[in-house]
Point group: C2
Amino acid sequence: MASVGTVTAQSMHFAAPLPLRSGAALRDYTLVYETYGTLNAARSNAVLVCHALNASHHVAGRYAGQDQATGWWDNLVGPGKPLDTDQLFVIGVNNPGSCFGSTGPMSPNPDRPGQAYGADFPVVTVEDWVDAQARLLDRLGIEQLAAVIGGSLGGMQALGWTLRHPGRVRHCIAIATAPNLSAQNIAFNEVARRAIVTDPDFHGGHYQQHGVLPRRGLRVARMLGHITYLSDDSMDAKFGRALRAPEPAYSTQEIEFQIESYLRHQADKFSEYFDANTYLLITRALDYFDPARDAGDDLARAFAPARHNRFLVVSFSTDWRFAPARSREIVKALVDNRIDVSYAEIDAPHGHDAFLLDDARYHGVLRAYFERVAREAGAARPHHAHPSPLPAPRGAGPARHEAP
Amino acid sequence: MASVGTVTAQSMHFAAPLPLRSGAALRDYTLVYETYGTLNAARSNAVLVCHALNASHHVAGRYAGQDQATGWWDNLVGPGKPLDTDQLFVIGVNNPGSCFGSTGPMSPNPDRPGQAYGADFPVVTVEDWVDAQARLLDRLGIEQLAAVIGGSLGGMQALGWTLRHPGRVRHCIAIATAPNLSAQNIAFNEVARRAIVTDPDFHGGHYQQHGVLPRRGLRVARMLGHITYLSDDSMDAKFGRALRAPEPAYSTQEIEFQIESYLRHQADKFSEYFDANTYLLITRALDYFDPARDAGDDLARAFAPARHNRFLVVSFSTDWRFAPARSREIVKALVDNRIDVSYAEIDAPHGHDAFLLDDARYHGVLRAYFERVAREAGAARPHHAHPSPLPAPRGAGPARHEAP
């Protein structure tokens, strides 16, 4: 299976304000996005990929030049891969509020010339993101998606599409997600937010004006988040109680265990590239998502508008952040509406992170489902050939795609 | 069932250094403790209660005067209660390194006149605490305990007694505990420690010299710890997704959900009375406890010295911090040694915190076991009568006990 090769991010500016669920509005804004594969003549083979907390529009392929970062779902998206770009036209879009290119807290605040939004960036919700994505599709000339797919918070967006714009999407693929956060989920988010907000370098969210970054808080938030992405068993398998040295040093502040070293390293990396205000916004978007709330706490009633959509719901046995029971709540609400839903509970050891990995059974389920999506979309033959099933050579492969 | 009434903490000074597992030693030190009930003439009815992370020697009863705080295990310990002070002589002792009276980081450092230990307080382990407790028993004239009991980290100390001083204890009651921390347990501890250590008011642990306290970090640590004490289900039952106001305010920094309000309140209270260096020390003691490590990672071999002890092991179905599977590891190691062990897995909804609550089945198991302990100890008749099964009146009950 080949990679989509080298890719370039595109951007689209929107001059009309985006009305937000909070009652506020986002003034003119920019969305960055990438596409892979080819939109067919009927414009019927587009698949939107929604990102989760710390990902972006860079779903597949590599960037040219210094930054050769590979897309976060590159194992899934590409020619011959389960989400086959020979058949389907795939769009990755960065949500407003992010720190990866779309308008967000680090962008200039139009109301305060010379300053970034910082903490004044409006609170955005899953529904707002779906609306912003819909406007991008308008501009790309895509009336209806063949499918929308996402994992975790991305799965909430995929569900949101069927609730908000059910006529504009045929299939919804919601992976490792939940119909809302549990009290424990919210509690973990709140600990992360308190770590950030109480960092003295946070300055009420206007740290950029002070020339500092609340990296300490962001590190703590990331360490905590990271624990919830992994299963207890996978952490034991990978790190166990292994010490960094042959014998313990008996220190409260130095690293003793490998797991500590790993978490600190991950946190350090994260704090170098992620924005603290974005972290607050995105955890709040998770907290607020609750489609049943607007339907008298009746999830089945909430899904009534989606009666013509078709769903694939996937969960992972060791995911304790969004446990299979939460996915089954979604499935039950769909079944109660006699909506076409397939459900796969994958026995995988990796916890919540499993949705990003290429477990064979998981990818097998997605491949089969996307074959159906492509068939129904009347997907065109690809305009290019990929001569070998091997990955493209690093840096300049034969399957080079530029976004349109 | 009556309360033990008003109690007074005692203290004992030890002039001889305590050799520590780290190779260092604790110079002269003081232990504070409380006792309830009466030591019989044979000195055979003493039960030691070991405390966990944020508790102390104040196990039962109330203090006189302004501070009427009730002991942390008052529902278990008292006349006619499962750990019946009419039959057994109960000792609660505060461990070195604590912030509740025994020598700890807030105590004067003998090597630096005029300064507190702060971060220079030596790292203490479960084994060191057991040794310190044994010295207290020496001074109280108690050669052998009828039983030692503890939950969580206290359970580790109870187990530690049977490994280190098996001849000095008859029964070990280990509740909601584990033979060591999992990688995930260590990871949560590490997040808490990083929150504390990276608080700018921490000053490398010498915050007292700077006239500040790292309360921000301590609050984050406590919020996180608190989540791990509760079950997902009990948080949902108690807080769910309830908002503080009828409608969301759409804010990243203000409180939206009841669970956030609760956690912040708990954290604020905790940060007022708990010492940050103690938090580091106690989480490290948890991390380091690993009796199998000294026995070739063979837990059964580790328990070989305890072959003449008898055990009660108790776990709770919804405890995900120290899950029943961890207790079963202990039971298996004991059974492999043909050691007398009773095991109760209590179906309780409250998660790890269940060990502090008075679930009827849980207390029924403990009551039955302590009746056996008392019988074997030849417990004397009590020297006092408690005239009614009602709790003693507040402040000055008929069952007033002063520690000896």
